[in-house]
C-alpha cells in the first residue's frame, strides 16, 4: 500500500515539476476523447439493440399489394393498408402481432370543458403492441382483445399531467369529442431507437402520450399524422370507417413476433401463398415484392440512417486518432526529458518492473484527469450537436455501463499514448542516459 502511495506521489510530483507539457498532453488527449465520446453516445443510442433478448424474433412484413397496376414497381410501400393488415394478421403463426400508426389529438378532463385541451401524441395500435416491445404497465392492463372500444392506455407522464397521480384506471378522459375510460397506465418506458417507427424517420422521437385501439381509430376517422398514401379515387375525408377499411389507403406499420426459425419460414410461406391467392383473385396486379425484415435491419431497409451522424462519426474517429498520435508525440518528449531521472533510478538499483510501476501510476493519473476533462468536452460537444441537429436531443444520456466503457477507453488511450515513450525511457542504454 505504501509503495502504491509512493508511486502515485511520484507521478503527481512529476506533473508539478513540468506542468505545461503534461497539461498539453492531457488537453489534447481529452479533446480527442471528448469529441469521440459525444459522437459515440449519439451513435450508440441510434444503433444499439433496444430489445437484445427478443430483437431476433421481431419482423416487419410487407407485400406489394397496391391495386394500381405497375409492372416495374417491385418495391412494396413503406406503410400498409387496413386490408394488408387484415390479410397479414390471418396466419395464426406469430406469437404476437400488432398494427400501429402515430397520430395526434387534443385531450382534457371531461369536467374541464372551459379549459383549452392539451395536444397529445397518440399511438393507434392493437393489444399485442405492449407484448411485442415489452412495454411495462404500472396500473391496469392492456385491452382484452382487438375490437373497437372507448378505452385508452396512458403513459405515466400523461397520467401525472392530467390527474396529478398515476393510479387513474377507471377514470374518464376526453379525447377530441369522445369520452374514453382509462384501462391502463404504463410505467416509465422509452425505446431508443424507436425501431417500430423507423419507416417515418421517428427513431429518436419520444414515446406516445396515449394509446388508442386500432379499430376505434378507424371508426372515428383518426388518421396517421406521418406517412399516409392513397392509391385510388375514394374520398378519405368522408366516411373513413368504411373507406379507410376498404380502400387503398396506406398508413400502418405492422410487426409480428416469430420466435423460431420454423415460424419465420412458415410465415414467409404464408406470405407467398397469400400473394398467390390474391393474384388469382385479381387483387394483386403488381409483381410479388414480399419482404420480411428483422427489426435490427429495419433502419437500413428504410434507408433511415442519419447519414450526417455517420459522417461525423467517421471524422471524429479520425480526430481521436490524430489526438492519440499527437499526445503520444508530446508524451515521448516528456519521457525523453525525464530520461536522466529514469537512468539514475536504474543506476541506484531500481528494477525495470519498478520503473514500469511508476509509469503505470502516471498512466492512471493521466487517465483520471483525461476522463474528467473529456467528459466535460463531450458534454459541451453534445450540447452543440443538439443545438445544430435538434433530432438528436433525446440521445444524450449516459448509462453507468457507458460511463464505465468511457473510463476504460480513457485508461486504454492513456496507456497507448504512454506505452512507446515509457519503453524508450526505461529500456534505453543506462550509460547513455546517465551521460
Amino acid at each position: 500500500m505504501d509503495n502504491l502511495l509512493h508511486v502515485f506521489a511520484l507521478a503527481i510530483r512529476n506533473i508539478k515539476r513540468a506542468p505545461l507539457p503534461y497539461l498539453l498532453t492531457v488537453l489534447i488527449l481529452s479533446l480527442g476523447l471528448g469529441m469521440f465520446f459525444s459522437n459515440a453516445t449519439l451513435y450508440y443510442w441510434l444503433n444499439h439493440d433496444p430489445l437484445p433478448h427478443k430483437s431476433q424474433t421481431l419482423f416487419y412484413p410487407q407485400i406489394n399489394a397496391t391495386l394500381q397496376p405497375c409492372d416495374s414497381c417491385t418495391e412494396p410501400l413503406r406503410v400498409l393498408s387496413y386490408q394488408d393488415v387484415q390479410k397479414l394478421s390471418s396466419s395464426g403463426i406469430p406469437s404476437a402481432q400488432a398494427a400501429m400508426f402515430q397520430s395526434a389529438g387534443y385531450a382534457r378532463l371531461p369536467e374541464n370543458t372551459r379549459q383549452s385541451p392539451t395536444p397529445v401524441a397518440l399511438r393507434i395500435t392493437q393489444r399485442d403492441f405492449f407484448t411485442l416491445f415489452d412495454v411495462p404497465f404500472l396500473h391496469g392492463e392492456r385491452w382484452a382483445d382487438n375490437s373497437a372500444r372507448r378505452e385508452l392506455i396512458l403513459s405515466k407522464a400523461s397520467a401525472e399531467r392530467f390527474f396529478g397521480r398515476t393510479n387513474v384506471v377507471g377514470e374518464a378522459l376526453q379525447l377530441g369529442n369522445e369520452l374514453y375510460t382509462i384501462t391502463g397506465v404504463l410505467d416509465d418506458w422509452t425505446m431508443l431507437p424507436r425501431l417500430y417507427d423507423v419507416a417515418n424517420g421517428l427513431n429518436s422521437a419520444q414515446s406516445a402520450d396515449i394509446y388508442l385501439p386500432w379499430e376505434t381509430a378507424y371508426d372515428l376517422g383518426i388518421k396517421s399524422n406521418t406517412t399516409t398514401m392513397s392509391r385510388d379515387s375514394r374520398n378519405y375525408s368522408d366516411n373513413f370507417a368504411v373507406n379507410g377499411r376498404e380502400g387503398d389507403f396506406f398508413q400502418a406499420q405492422f410487426w409480428v413476433q416469430l420466435d423460431t426459425a420454423d415460424q419465420v419460414s412458415a410465415y414467409r410461406q404464408f406470405m407467398q401463398q397469400l400473394v398467390q391467392s390474391e393474384k388469382e383473385a385479381g387483387r394483386h396486379p403488381r409483381p410479388e415484392g414480399n419482404r420480411l425484415t428483422n427489426i435490427l435491419d429495419i433502419t437500413e431497409h428504410f434507408n433511415a440512417r442519419n447519414r450526417q451522424l455517420d459522417a461525423f462519426a467517421l471524422v471524429s474517429l479520425l480526430f481521436l486518432l490524430v489526438c492519440l498520435f499527437n499526445a503520444s508525440h508530446l508524451s515521448l518528449n516528456r519521457y525523453l526529458a525525464s530520461q536522466y531521472e529514469f537512468g539514475l533510478r536504474r543506476a541506484l538499483g531500481a528494477s525495470r518492473g519498478q520503473l514500469q510501476q511508476l509509469i503505470l501510476a502516471d498512466v492512471a493519473v493521466n487517465a483520471a484527469v483525461a476522463l474528467l476533462l473529456s467528459l466535460t468536452v463531450a458534454m459541451v460537444a453534445m450540447a452543440l450537436i443538439n443545438h445544430l441537429l435538434p433530432a438528436t436531443r433525446n440521445l444524450t444520456s449516459w448509462s453507468p455501463a457507458m460511463l464505465f466503457a468511457m473510463a476504460a477507453t480513457a485508461l486504454a488511450a492513456s496507456y497507448i499514448v504512454s506505452l512507446y515513450p515509457a519503453i524508450r525511457a526505461s529500456f534505453g542504454s543506462l550509460n547513455r542516459q546517465l551521460k
Binding site: 479533446l31 368522408d238 450526417q308 459522417a311 471524422v315 508525440h329 450537436i385
Partner: protein, 394 residues
C-alpha cells in the same frame, strides 16, 4: 541551409517525425473536406427560392373542437380568421392553404399527361388547395395564362410551376389548356421552392378548393410590410384567439426560419466539421509549438556552438523554422492524397461533390501558416541561447 542536414536531423527522431507526419496528413484531409462540406451547405442554402423569405409569415394551426375540423364550419372559420388577420396593421395579403412552401410533408400526389402516362408520370408533387388570394400572399409571378379566380372554385382547373410544366410538356407555355391527371392547366407561375424531398423542390400544383377536413391542420400565409414583421407576429396569436379560442396555434414562423430548418442537417454538419477542423488546427499548433520548444532545449548545445562559430540569430531562427516547414511540407503532401481518400469515404455515406484541387492546397497553406505561427516563439527562444552558456559543459 542544407536540405540534407535537415533530413538527417528528422531521421534522428524517426518516431516523433512519423507521428507528426501522420497527424499533419490527417489534419489536412479533415480541413479540406470540412471546407468542402461547408461550401456545399452554403451553395444549397443559397439556391433561389422564388419566395419573399423575410416578409412572408406562415401560421400552422388546427381546431381543437372536432366540429370545426369539417367543411363548411372549417371554411367559415378560416374566412373569419383571415378577415381578422387582414385588420392587423402591416398585413398586406392573407390566404389559406393546405401546405406551406419549404415545409417537409404535406399532400403530394402523382401527376401525368393522360396520353403519355408511362413516360410523363411524376411522383410526389405537392398538391396545394388554396384560394385566389394565395397568389398575392406568396408574391407569385405569373408566366403564362392566368391565376385561379373565384370561377375556378372547386373545379379541376390547375396552375403549375414552370419546372413542372417543362417536365410535363417540354416547354412551359405549351402546358396551357392541356389536360393532366389532376385537371386542366390554366396557368403557369414562376418556380417556388416547395418540398425539398419531393421529386423536385420546385414542383408545385395549385387548385382553388375548399378544405373538406383539417385532420392535419391548415396554414394561413401572410404577406407583411417589411418593417412590420415583428409587430404583426406579436399580434397574430391574440387576433386568432379572438376569432375562435378552440384552436391550437402550432407555429408562427417566417419563411426565412423554415428555409433555415430545411437545410438544418447540412448546415449543422458543416458547422460541426468546421469546429472539429479548428480543433485540429489547434492541436497541430500545440504539437508544433511543443516539438520546437522541446528540441530547442535538446539542441541548446548545438545551437550554442553554431552561435559561437558565427551563426547569426536570423540564421538559427530560419534553421528551426525550416525544419518545421520541411515536416509540414512532407505532411501536407501526404495530406493531399489523404484528402481525396477521405472525400471518397465520406461520399459513400453522404452526398458530397468532388474535391476541387485548389481546396486541399488552400488547406495546406493554412496549415503551414498555423505551424509557422506556433513555431515562431520557440524558435525565437532558441536564438537567444548564449554561446558561452551553451558551450560551458563542453
Amino acid at each position: 541551409m542544407s536540405l540534407t542536414l535537415l533530413f538527417k536531423s528528422l531521421l534522428q527522431r524517426k518516431v516523433i517525425t512519423i507521428l507528426l507526419l501522420i497527424q499533419l496528413m490527417l489534419t489536412l484531409a479533415l480541413v479540406s473536406n470540412s471546407i468542402l462540406l461547408s461550401q456545399q451547405a452554403y451553395t444549397l442554402s443559397n439556391q433561389p427560392t422564388g419566395l419573399q423569405l423575410e416578409t412572408t409569415l406562415a401560421i400552422e394551426l388546427k381546431p381543437t373542437d372536432e366540429n370545426l375540423i369539417v367543411h363548411p364550419a372549417l371554411g367559415e372559420l378560416i374566412q373569419r380568421q383571415l378577415a381578422e388577420l387582414r385588420k392587423i396593421n402591416g398585413v398586406r395579403y392573407a390566404a389559406f392553404t393546405n401546405q406551406t412552401p419549404l415545409m417537409f410533408g404535406g399532400m403530394n400526389g402523382d401527376v401525368f399527361v393522360p396520353d403519355h402516362a408511362e413516360t410523363s408520370s411524376v411522383d410526389a408533387v405537392p398538391y396545394n388547395y388554396a384560394e385566389a388570394g394565395l397568389f398575392d400572399a406568396l408574391q407569385m409571378t405569373l408566366l403564362h395564362g392566368r391565376w385561379l379566380s373565384a370561377e375556378d372554385k372547386n373545379t379541376d382547373n390547375v396552375v403549375l410551376t414552370e419546372k413542372l410544366a417543362n417536365r410535363l410538356f417540354g416547354q412551359s407555355h405549351l402546358a396551357l389548356g392541356q389536360q393532366i391527371s389532376a385537371g386542366t392547366v390554366v396557368g403557369v407561375v414562376a418556380d417556388m421552392m416547395y418540398q425539398r424531398f419531393a421529386s423536385d423542390q420546385y414542383y408545385g400544383l395549385f387548385f382553388n378548393r375548399d378544405l373538406s377536413r383539417a385532420d392535419y391542420g391548415y396554414r394561413l400565409i401572410l404577406q407583411v410590410e417589411s418593417q412590420a414583421v415583428a409587430a404583426v407576429r406579436q399580434q397574430i396569436n391574440q387576433s386568432l384567439r379572438q376569432v375562435e379560442p378552440e384552436i391550437d396555434i402550432q407555429h408562427i414562423v417566417s419563411l426565412r426560419q423554415l428555409h433555415r430548418d430545411v437545410f438544418e442537417q447540412e448546415r449543422g454538419l458543416a458547422i460541426l466539421l468546421s469546429v472539429l477542423s479548428a480543433l485540429m488546427l489547434l492541436v497541430a499548433m500545440i504539437s508544433a509549438y511543443s516539438h520546437a520548444l522541446f528540441h530547442g532545449v535538446q539542441q541548446q548545445n548545438e545551437i550554442g556552438i553554431k552561435r559561437a562559430l558565427g551563426a547569426s540569430k536570423r540564421r538559427i531562427l530560419l534553421e528551426v523554422l525550416s525544419e518545421s516547414w520541411l515536416t509540414t511540407g512532407i505532411g501536407v503532401t501526404l495530406g493531399l492524397l489523404a484528402s481525396f481518400l477521405l472525400q471518397q469515404q465520406l461520399a459513400t455515406v453522404i452526398s458530397l461533390p468532388a474535391l476541387p484541387l485548389w481546396l486541399p492546397f488552400a488547406g495546406a497553406l493554412m496549415l503551414l501558416f498555423c505551424v509557422t505561427a506556433a513555431t515562431w516563439y520557440p524558435a525565437a527562444i532558441a536564438t537567444r541561447v548564449s554561446p558561452a552558456t551553451a558551450t560551458k559543459a563542453l
